[in-house]
Symmetry: C2
Subunit: 241 residues, 2 copies
DNA sequence: GCGCCGATGGAACGTCGTTCCAATGTATTG
DNA sequence: CAATACATTGGAACGACGTTCCATCGGCGC
């Protein structure tokens, strides 16, 4: 193929036009994941999109698991790269939570990728972003881990559930509301004696606002944090007088 | 093989001794998942353990995804089949949370199986178990979904993260504390300017008590619920006088 | 005792992640 | 500028997977 030609690069290591690179591979992976879902990321489909063979990719990425983590990290880093200067810690947490919620909604595969890479860079980024405003709220050291954990798991849990719904709907060839409709119908047919709560919310499943419910949960946790702060302040005040 | 012989069964449908059945398949699947992890469940390994061929299993189970959900449901049902009569709603929630935490710890694959089956029976069981004491706490209808969601996602999130740690450790051939040690070491080497919180908790990772931290998070959410209740009661009292 | 029919289990198919290696094209050397 | 050294490439091949298919078999009704 004569379309290949040499190129002088500042760093000097790049060889060809359109040369394979970690960045190009990750970008193509994200495209593939967004357009074809979690199962759409395949070394064959990826190599075809990059006009190369499956083996070539292994020169830049050690394996599929690392590729998924890298793609995930790229999305997460983009989502968290927003300044929230001047906002209250509560508003920062709410904004952060919504941004993550929307990100996972737009890239459903990110949710499950995160849960399969505990302690890795994308997760650490999120941990850190949540911890900063939590510390700003004055949560004492010994409660920080539990507090951050509560927020982190709630955010990723709800986001992931939403994403799982979307993924499953895609797999079944339904759109989102059709899928929720089928779940709602299945819930309605449960034994009311054994599953009273599930039955009663079956109807809400179709009409409720996911984002609003999500925020209500965040506020619930924030109230718990505030309640701890108040009781701590009261105790300190009592012992001081 | 002459070890097969007929058997008279009350219902009359069973044909052979050791006949294949949904129950036997699920039981064997749980054994396999417990002993060899999430990747250990294979139709080949399963059929070998059941002394049959891979094709025979499809007479009782539609596909692998359903098999995993069924195995998961079996474990979840067992975990939730405990009476908590006489306990306060708070104590019931705490007990339920700990039981789920320990169950996922003992069967790490349950965590990821749950996250891949939103709205299915095992998830509904858990939803219902959490909703019952939440309703008993007097949470009003419009807040129930968010409240139950906060608890549910926190419990499954922390449990799942724990489980993921265990799974990953197994895959890497390390035991749990060695794995946590390697994560802790990786976190320690992060840029302190960019990841101050993560760095500061890196040390705690090895020494902290997972269950205690988990319960602290549950209490945080319970405090949030209680705080909502109090402010609602205050408002009602003010408008009444 | 015989034939029927569902249950069975092993072979086979297509796809996956991954490995391997000959061929390619770039950089360095003489 | 020609020849060599070497990293990158890409396509073939491997083993394992989920799933399908169908010849065979075993228990039941006649």
């Amino acid at each position: 193929m004569s379309r290949c030609s040499m190129v002088r690069h500042a760093g000097g290591t790049r060889r060809r036009l359109q040369a394979l690179s970690r960045e190009r591979i990750i970008e193509a992976s994200i495209d593939l994941l967004d357009s074809s879902g979690e199962d759409g990321l395949t070394f064959r489909a990826l190599s075809e999109r990059l006009s190369t063979g499956p083996g070539a990719i292994y020169g830049h990425i050690p394996n599929k698991s690392e590729l998924l983590i890298a793609a995930c990290d790229s999305i997460v880093a983009r989502a968290l790269n927003v300044s929230s200067a001047g906002a209250t810690p509560e508003a920062t947490i709410r904004g952060l939570a919504l941004r993550l919620f929307d990100t996972i909604d737009a890239h459903p595969w990110v949710g499950s990728a995160l849960s399969r890479a505990p302690g890795r860079l994308p997760m650490v980024r999120i941990l850190e972003s949540i911890a900063r405003p939590v510390c700003a709220l004055g949560v004492p050291d010994e409660e920080q881990w539990a507090t951050v954990g509560a927020l982190l798991n709630y955010i990723l849990g709800v986001g992931g559930k939403n994403a799982a719904n979307g993924q499953l709907a895609r797999t079944l060839g339904l759109d989102r509301s059709d899928f929720l409709g089928s779940v709602s119908a299945a819930w309605s047919e449960l034994d009311p004696a054994e599953y009273p709560f599930t039955q009663s919310v079956a109807g809400q499943l179709l009409t409720h606002d996911d984002r609003a419910d999500f925020l209500a949960g965040i506020d619930l946790i924030l109230r718990g944090i505030d309640s701890s702060r108040r009781s701590r302040a009261a105790k300190a005040g009592a012992s001081r007088r």
